[in-house]
């Protein structure tokens, strides 16, 4: 039972983080608070994806004993164990996702600044009242 919990509790922590972000996106009425919740949500998803790449007893995805440029001629002699290195593919995809996350953050904050310029408040209920 304890072994089961230790092998799974990481995912539960990520789900708790995602729930915190989701609650902030739904229930908070301030627009900047909603954006902070969106940031926490995205970070939790990225954390989950990176955690699927982890292998126990493996090292970073950087080749040991690499000869650098021109290694292609001698590389046949060297045997590379797949289980020795962490899976690099989720890292690459999540690198892209982090940059896209900051791009969405920038656009969202620009919209918030524009809304404040037009309505003079960041509270969602007051903005809806001002529109009507």
């Amino acid at each position: 039972m304890l072994e089961f919990i230790i092998s799974k509790y990481n995912f539960w922590i990520y789900i708790i983080l995602m729930m915190i972000g989701f609650y902030a996106m739904i229930a908070k009425t301030n627009l900047v608070k909603k954006i902070i919740g969106m940031n926490i949500f995205q970070t939790a998803i990225i954390l989950f994806f990176v955690s699927t790449a982890y292998k126990s007893d493996a090292t970073l995805p950087i080749l040991l004993n690499s000869q650098g440029h021109g290694a292609g001629h001698h590389a046949a002699e060297q045997v590379i164990e797949v289980s020795q290195y962490i899976n690099p593919l989720p890292h690459v995809l999540m690198l892209t996702a982090i940059v896209v996350m900051v791009a969405t953050l920038g656009v969202a904050l620009a919209i918030v600044i524009r809304v404040y310029r037009d309505y003079g408040t960041l509270n969602e209920d007051e903005i809806i009242k001002a529109i009507k």
Partner: protein
């Protein structure tokens, strides 16, 4: 994976996330979000994803926090929740 280090980092991350959405001042919330990003960066470095950790520390904790601070300075710090 070092279990105590992992548990301490996850505890700090959850505390930072809860504090960032409950604090009553937007500037404090944004700074706590920067601290959250740095703890997340430590978690990734501890998981072996060093490139993701570099990108998070420079892009999300640096530029993201600066964008948030600029937005809060241009609008208002006060909030009701």
């Amino acid at each position: 994976m070092i279990l105590p280090f992992d548990i301490i980092l996850q505890l700090f991350v959850i505390i930072c996330a809860v504090a960032a959405i409950t604090v009553k001042d937007l500037m404090s919330a944004v700074i706590i979000l920067g601290a959250y990003s740095f703890f997340m960066c430590l978690m990734w470095a501890q998981m072996g994803a060093v490139d993701v950790a570099f990108t998070e520390a420079s892009v999300s904790a640096g530029i993201g926090t600066i964008l948030c601070i600029a937005a809060v300075m241009k609008t208002t710090r006060r909030t009701k929740d």
